[in-house]
Amino acid sequence: MIKLNINGKTHQVDVEPEMPLLWVLRDVLGMTGTKYGCGVAQCGACTVHVNGEAMRSCSVPVAAIEGKKITTIEGLSQNGLHKVQKAWIEHEVPQCGYCQSGMIMAAVNLLERKPNPTDADIDLAMTNICRCGTYVRIRAAIHAAAKA
């Protein structure tokens, strides 16, 4: 049994220690807000926070984060929308929306580290892929959220 602290709740999961967190979330716990895009830490669709750090959950073995504080997109909006989510709605960022859980988790983490990010900060932190090409609005929404 591996004990996981996800969005403030404790979950016991009986899985292989090397199983990536992404699949524990999606297929074992049924939390499908975190997405699979590549499985090899390339796209960021699976981004979650582990002890306040943005991580690509497809490449994090579940044993490595036992006891750490995990936040997923579902946990971000537990008590009303986060200011990043509000900015995303205001700027109509999502198109298909598939990458957006990961984008939002990456943006929240960026703002936690840098409350007023420059464009260069955004370029450095936001390395996720969006095939619909919502990048222009993502940049605008991050700047807006920083001011909110």
């Binding site: 699949w23 997405k35 699979y36 895009g37 090899v40 298909c96 929306g97 095939r131 090409g133 609005r137």
Partner: protein
């Protein structure tokens, strides 16, 4: 859970929930009506097949097409609501059911979402549905009041009879209205009287997409569901010869190894285990004689097609050969575009549950009826036995339209599993499988020859194009005399007034499957055409805008958008040192698009695209914010392809496998995007999901020429060395 994403009739809901045992997990697939009933809330009344009106004034518009990020789920209801004159605040959308579509003689028309067609091919039927329903609602109120319907008006969902100072609401009369006959003829508003259409409206699907609540096909979760990962023959067309799955069978959670004619799947209790186990399966393939095909051999095949003196002629005006031989100057160039994968962010997936001669299917699809047909065909059952739940798509771009391979595999895998275990099976492709088992944007090779007179006017243009045919794979009768005109868009309908033209086409079909990829031939032909025009402008020392202006007819909407883009970009104003620009124009799917791109190239050859201005005339614009989003989207998709995109073939199989070798632009390389909407109205409605893509690759390469003096004639740009000598 309020994420209503698919539709079914009340009857099919009851059937579905009985089958599943009423589990909560299924609730996300319920239409509004079923949800209401399951909660003891009154049901909506169907006032025309497109519109449900509820006692609490909610208006639910049925959507036949698919939401894949382009905004149809909101744009289509806007067309209805404009004429219905309900309160926009009360409007939402749900997918029309394919089962009802079959039972009701295709009452919702086409359910296919491709060719930038959702709005342009259904605006009339939807506006008519809105006007019809409004008329029925007014008639119902008038009957109750015993007054003439002509004395009543409807506005914001309220019907008023001014003379008697009575009013009621849509919700109150919907029940009575639903019993009335639909009027035969309704009059549609003059566009100048529109209140909703043309105004920016918030998209319905966005809130759930920022909270992780949106359920995509890949997120379907059903009680007892198993997961499958699949490996198809790496050489297209190959077949399974033998399978050694001994190691896989021992892996924890693995339930079954499924062998199909062309694929092997592992089924397990979660997808990771299925996929880990699949990696241990050893398959011997019969490669169907294609294991020697390579990008080089395909290039040689295309080239041979162009060398062939018997190459079929697709279009001819005047006499290009004679004009060329008499030209003061002849220019020649060869251009090439590669295969491309769509790489939808959500990998291909489909969930299926075979129950005897019936099957229930969940999938993200651009073509709901095509999904039903594919599932029925694969299982050999009647289409009415397929109960389909359409899910929102994590990207489409053409991948989930005509080609329904993900559905076929899923139902075939489920059939084998369901002979032993009565549970649904979700088949999800790994990203590697998705990249290697695409249905690709075709390659194409162009040889063009243009004749110019002493004054630099074009007198002749001869284009020879070799490319696979998309139509050949699914509508072979559309290929006539060896010619698929679909592959020739932009050439056979070229807007330039060249007196002598000739377009020849050599159909060459390697074993690599091809399909529609965003903008289709208009994603590649404009690269050759518009760069060659740029070559001519430079060769004759003319400004590229001026050069085109001379050969575009007055009133041509290509001219209008070119000028709009040039004006917005400040074409004639000087640029900062080191910054250069290029332009291109192309019409497609009923719309006209022009792009101006500004960029700089460092001494080391690194490209910095700074600014992209795109002007589009789509006739009308329903939701301007969605239109702008589509321009931004096309800029990223188009520049990604032009700069980085290529699928190459070696030993009969795709060489790329994931985002590290099939690369994408990320935010650090995204330019400033300026959208210029110049709808000219009239009777023509153009599309928006694809047209803005067409001018991007040529505008980019024309700007690169301006910056470096190097003419890029093959894509992607990354294969060219732009280092300054």
């Amino acid at each position: 859970m309020d994420t209503v994403v698919t539709s079914a009739s009340r009857r099919s809901f009851l059937k579905a929930s009985a089958a599943i045992g009423g589990g909560l997990a299924i609730e996300f697939t319920l239409p509004a009506n079923s949800l209401a009933q399951s909660r003891g809330v009154a049901a909506g009344q169907e006032v025309t097949a497109w519109i449900l009106i509820y006692p609490d004034e909610r208006v639910v518009v049925r959507i036949a097409r698919s939401e894949m990020g382009q905004g149809s789920f909101t744009g289509l209801p806007m067309l209805v609501a404009e004429e219905l004159q309900c309160d926009w605040k009360n409007v939402s959308a749900e997918y029309a059911s394919t089962t009802e579509q079959m039972k009701r003689n295709r009452v919702w028309g086409s359910m296919s979402t491709g060719g930038s067609s959702s709005i342009r091919t259904s605006h009339e039927i939807l506006r008519r549905a809105g006007a019809t329903a409004r008329t029925m609602l007014i008639n119902a109120a008038a009957q109750q009041w015993n007054v003439a319907a002509s004395e009543c008006v409807a506005e914001n969902g309220v019907i008023t009879h001014a003379a008697s100072r009575r009013s009621t609401t849509f919700g109150k009369v919907a029940d009575a209205a639903a019993r009335l006959d639909a009027p035969k003829d309704v009059k549609l508003k003059d566009p100048k009287d529109w209140k909703l259409l043309g105004t920016a409206r918030k998209r319905f699907d966005i809130p759930d997409k920022v909270t992780g609540k949106q359920v995509y096909g890949i997120d379907v979760t059903l009680p007892g569901m198993l997961h499958a990962s699949v490996m198809q023959s790496p050489v297209f067309g190959g077949k399974v010869r033998s399978v050694d799955s001994a190691a896989a069978e021992k892996i924890r959670g693995v339930k079954q190894i499924v062998r199909l004619e062309n694929a092997v799947a592992v089924v397990a209790d979660n997808w990771w285990r299925a996929n880990q186990a699949l990696k241990t399966v050893k398959v011997e393939w019969d490669e169907a004689g294609n294991s020697n095909v390579s990008s080089d051999s395909i290039m040689a095949l295309l080239s041979a097609g162009l060398d062939d003196p018997a190459i079929p002629n697709a279009k001819k005006t005047g006499d290009a050969a004679t004009a060329l031989s008499g030209a003061a100057r002849v220019m020649e160039a060869e251009y090439f575009t590669p295969y491309l994968n769509h790489a939808t962010m959500e990998p291909q997936n489909c969930t299926a549950w075979v129950k005897g001669d019936k099957v229930e299917v969940w999938a993200p699809t651009q073509n709901a009826e095509g999904t039903v047909t594919e599932a029925a065909k694969a299982l050999g059952v009647p289409e009415i036995n397929v109960e389909f739940h359409k899910m929102h798509l994590g990207g489409g771009f053409g991948r989930r339209g005509v080609v329904q391979d993900f559905v076929k595999l899923a139902v075939l895998v489920a059939r084998q599993v369901n002979t032993r275990l009565d549970v649904p099976v979700k088949l999800t492709w790994s990203r590697e499988e998705d990249i290697k088992q695409g249905a690709y944007r075709p390659v194409s090779l162009y040889r063009m020859k243009a004749g110019l007179d002493a004054a630099g006017n074009i007198t002749a243009w001869h284009s020879r194009i070799a490319a696979p045919s998309i139509m050949l794979s699914f509508q072979p009768d559309r290929v006539r005399n060896g010619i698929d005109t679909n592959a020739l868009g932009g050439f056979i309908d070229m807007p330039y007034t060249v007196p002598n033209t000739q377009v020849d086409y050599s159909l060459k079909q390697p074993h690599v499957p091809v399909t529609f990829w965003r903008a289709v031939a208009h994603s590649q032909n404009p690269f050759a055409r518009e760069c060659f025009i740029d070559e001519m402008a430079h060769a004759t020392n003319k400004d590229p805008v001026e050069f085109r202006r001379v050969i575009l007819k007055a009133g041509d909407r290509n001219l209008l958008v070119m000028e709009a883009a040039a004006r917005a970009a400040g074409w004639n104003s000087p640029l900062p040192a080191g910054v250069h620009r290029g332009i291109a124009v192309q019409d497609s799917y009923g719309s006209y698009a022009a792009a101006v791109i500004e960029l700089s190239v460092s001494d080391a050859g690194e490209i910095d695209v700074k600014r992209v201005v795109v002007a589009v005339d789509s006739g009308y614009v329903v939701n301007p914010d969605s239109a702008k989003a589509q321009i931004e989207s096309n800029v990223v998709y188009g520049l990604t392809a032009a700069l980085l995109g290529e699928i190459t073939i070696k030993n009969g199989r795709v060489e790329q496998s994931n985002f590290y070798d099939y690369q994408m632009l990320r935010i650090n390389r995204i330019p400033k995007v300026e959208s210029v909407l110049v709808p000219t109205g009239g009777t023509a409605w153009g599309g928006f999901g694809e047209p803005p893509l067409s001018p991007l690759a040529p505008a980019l390469c024309n700007a690169l020429f301006a910056a470096t003096g190097k003419r890029i004639r093959s894509l992607p740009v990354k294969n060219h060395d732009l280092k300054q000598a």
